[in-house]
Symmetry: C2
Subunit: 499 residues, 2 copies
């Protein structure tokens, strides 16, 4: 509708006077939607009588949601209903009985930080557009480095631990041979890296993406608890040298994805030192144990690493995503490796100290302020509060282990005396079936289907190295209590009664 | 404090009964913080009497914010003050006079979608944990593909256009030689790719990260408007072939970062077809013009591309980050190229159609539901509403061009008859100084410093190909009107009066 205004200017048929957005209506919509979010998500987060999920098959859910985007927009009323539907049919990852992934629960402080950054919509690359968030990132990185035990260092927050692992791989390669940045890998000897056979799958993705090739990832055997065997690493490094390839990197894991194993960092560091290899520790899951004075010994030797990936969005509930790559080098290696010196963004003749413009350390251009949510949470809980979370999660895991041993129908995947060396909150159980291997294999998927359709809880399963499908229980959220552990076992028994 | 409960269970000194979080206090904190966000960010977004930024030098801001993370947590009262401080000293990117980057403004619908996803905290990889967001992503990708003009295709949302460009580069390489995924680049001939000298700096970052090497990016000359010259491309491809290297990819740009130029896609596609090269179009900025029936001709020929990067978080205000890589291939190339088949996540014996578990197409593991905010915004505005945004931004840019020509103290960087072929909302001006080249060079940084310290607006400057520092004006937000264009020119005059 054309509005009559003084000095109305028409260009290309568009009236240019005044804004075209109805701010008042927009604000009202935000307020109403926030009320729904508060009632339907946040206030229900600790309520175990709510469903974890309301399962619908893809084709049905498509019909319910009315996914089509049309020429004309919808009314606010219709949109608010859509928001309700989206919430209703989404998995409640903050539910106390969501045990499906390596993240869970809700942290109110992190959530507020995330609401703030969504409203401010910043991109973290230069001080002029992100003054607060750049300083916060610097402070958080400094603090994380303290917990690793380095005297100094550098770092950057990335969209995921997988990306952090890629950064580290590229950084190690750059350190090994800086010319690769300009010349590429063509014509060079085969670069080889080492990681355990229990490592995260991002190692393969990284090797492929970086042009190294998945065949040049040498997977090192692990012991029965899933930890890398240092003697096997030594052998493989020697084998690689004999082949004439160029070993440059060892990626140890602190908290493997499936078994939660912590590689023996100190012994691995000895080997890296001996052979002049970069040591990267993927502590995406296990890094948060550094906050606990009781459990930080699981990562003994981590101060000897050259780089560490650590995701506070997992065990510490900082919200997806919150992932740091931390680097021991403080001579500017990160920037040298990654910089492209874009003149339109990183002008050198600015009126302030441009060393605060840290965006050129990143492979991203726009980048989210992920450190901020961790910072606000840390400010709110203090180190002691974070430590309490880790300690409690581990204690709950130990409780579950003991309960599993008492129950007739369950079997621990790993023996109990080993469990206590096992990482924190990752506990494993497999449902004991009658006898037949094939049945065994099929039991977990059937129970999973039943729990999803009932919506009572969510728990992941997988096969593993010749072992049949078993459930993997992950304890993270401070909303979880022993009552939920008991429920978990009762519920599996109930769901599996006729199998 | 130990709470007396029935059957209290103590493990490792930790009471495991009941949750340890005070949900009521947490919810109250969220409510109070939301009120602050509403009042201080959202309701002020359209208010030009507010400052765009409240400049503080890094050292001063560090003192104000009290960045230190301590052992003990802070009170809610103190934390709420901290939230206020964070907001106060952050740049208001939604302010109608924030013209500094290729994003700006606020969209209320996208914002609501982002609040929902932050509260739900999903990760988008499997249907079981992200049913709604995976279906929404599929629907949005399908719709974007329609606007590109492909009959079918595939795609994925990524954390940034830079990352999308990397995806495309790796995908083109995989298509060229699938063995690279396993074998790597060692021992292969030099892979070479082509892009214009006006391309985004992520091309160099990508080539370096992927092990191709920055020297193997051949930069093609552009015409005076910043468009790639097809004849130069042809020459460079032939040169590369003669050198014995392996050309595999051309990256055209639809909307360059500095000049906003659109490469001639149709002619470039001819050359790609002739030489069997993958054509990627970096339409991170310009892709949104596809929504406008009036301006989509700027991307004429884009349907011939093999892949397209398009960021709705720029011109369409979907919120940082919202970036899709779209791929013409529909035979599963994306998945083949990227998959690592993690057994713990992508189980094949699930009870539903696992083709909906699209996470293995990604280099990330955890991934945010960035398509959702674009979807809700699209539902709210309709295609017509999105189109109106693009048309209005372009009309405002044209208005500004005409005004600049009328003003004594300003000079357009590009002649006006060329401007009209120029991309949408990117308009360029440089402040005309008296005579001396060196003065010229220094004028923009001084004016920038003054506007930052005053907080009246934010506008980026840069030098460019031998030209001295000039300002670059970007029009995006629907809150912007011709009054803001007039203000911009008046304000520069005012700030530069004594120079």
């Amino acid at each position: 509708m054309l509005q009559k205004k003084k000095n109305a200017v028409l260009v290309d048929g568009v009236i240019l006077n005044g804004p075209i957005m109805d701010s008042k209506a927009g604000e009202k919509f935000v307020e109403e939607a926030c009320k729904i979010i508060m009632e339907e998500v946040i206030q229900k987060a600790d309520d175990v009588t709510e469903k974890v999920c309301e399962w619908q098959a893809p084709e049905t859910l498509k019909q319910i949601l009315d996914l089509e985007m049309r020429d004309t927009g919808e009314s606010h009323q219709k949109l608010l209903q859509l928001c309700r539907d989206v919430i209703q049919y989404s998995v409640k990852t903050s539910h106390p009985r969501f045990f499906n992934q390596l993240y869970a629960g809700i942290d109110y402080y992190s959530l507020v930080a995330r609401f703030i950054t969504e409203a401010l919509n910043p991109s973290v690359y230069t001080y002029e557009v992100s003054p607060v968030f750049l300083l916060v990132e610097e402070a958080v990185i400094k603090k994380m480095i303290e917990f690793i035990g380095w005297e100094e260092g550098d770092g950057i927050f990335n969209p995921g631990g997988s990306v952090s692992n890629m950064y580290a791989m590229n950084l190690a390669r750059y350190k090994f041979c800086p010319e690769i940045k300009e010349k590429g890998l063509s014509g060079l000897p085969r670069l080889v890296l080492f990681t355990s056979e229990e490592c995260h799958y991002s190692m393969k993705k990284a090797a492929s993406f970086l042009g190294i090739g998945t065949e040049n990832v040498y997977f090192i055997k692990t012991d029965e608890r899933g930890k890398m065997i240092p003697e096997e690493l030594e052998k493989q490094v020697q084998r690689a040298r004999k082949e004439g390839s160029a070993p440059f990197l060892v990626c140890a894991t602190a908290g493997t994805t499936v078994l939660g194993a912590f590689d023996p960092l100190d012994k691995i560091a000895d080997i890296c030192e001996k052979h002049g290899l970069w040591l990267h520790v993927d502590a995406s899951w296990g890094g948060s144990a550094l906050i606990s004075r009781k459990h930080c010994r699981l990562l003994h030797g981590i101060h000897r690493a050259d780089s560490v990936a650590w995701n506070p969005h997992k065990m510490l509930l900082a919200g997806i995503q919150c992932c740091a790559l931390l680097v021991k080098d403080n001579s500017g290696l990160l920037k040298k490796c990654y910089s492209a010196k874009a003149a339109y963004l990183f002008q050198q003749d600015k009126f302030y100290d441009v060393s605060y413009d840290t965006g050129d350390k990143s492979i991203q251009c726009s980048r989210r302020p992920d450190a901020f949510k961790f910072w606000l949470m840390w400010k709110a809980l203090g180190t002691t509060g974070l430590e309490e979370r880790v300690n409690r999660a581990l204690a709950l895991a130990r409780y579950l282990v003991e309960e599993i041993k008492k129950r007739e129908g369950f079997q621990l995947l790993l023996e109990s005396h080993k469990i206590q060396f096992l990482p924190k909150s990752a506990v494993f159980l497999c449902v004991k079936s009658t006898s037949f291997f094939c049945l065994y294999f099929q039991v977990a998927p059937i129970i999973k289907e039943r729990m999803m359709k009932k919506g009572s809880m969510m728990l992941g399963y997988q096969p593993h190295q010749g072992k049949v499908n078993f459930f993997r229980q992950v304890v993270i959220s401070p909303h979880v209590s022993r009552e939920d552990m008991d429920f978990l076992l009762d519920e599996i028994e109930l769901l599996a009664k006729d199998l």
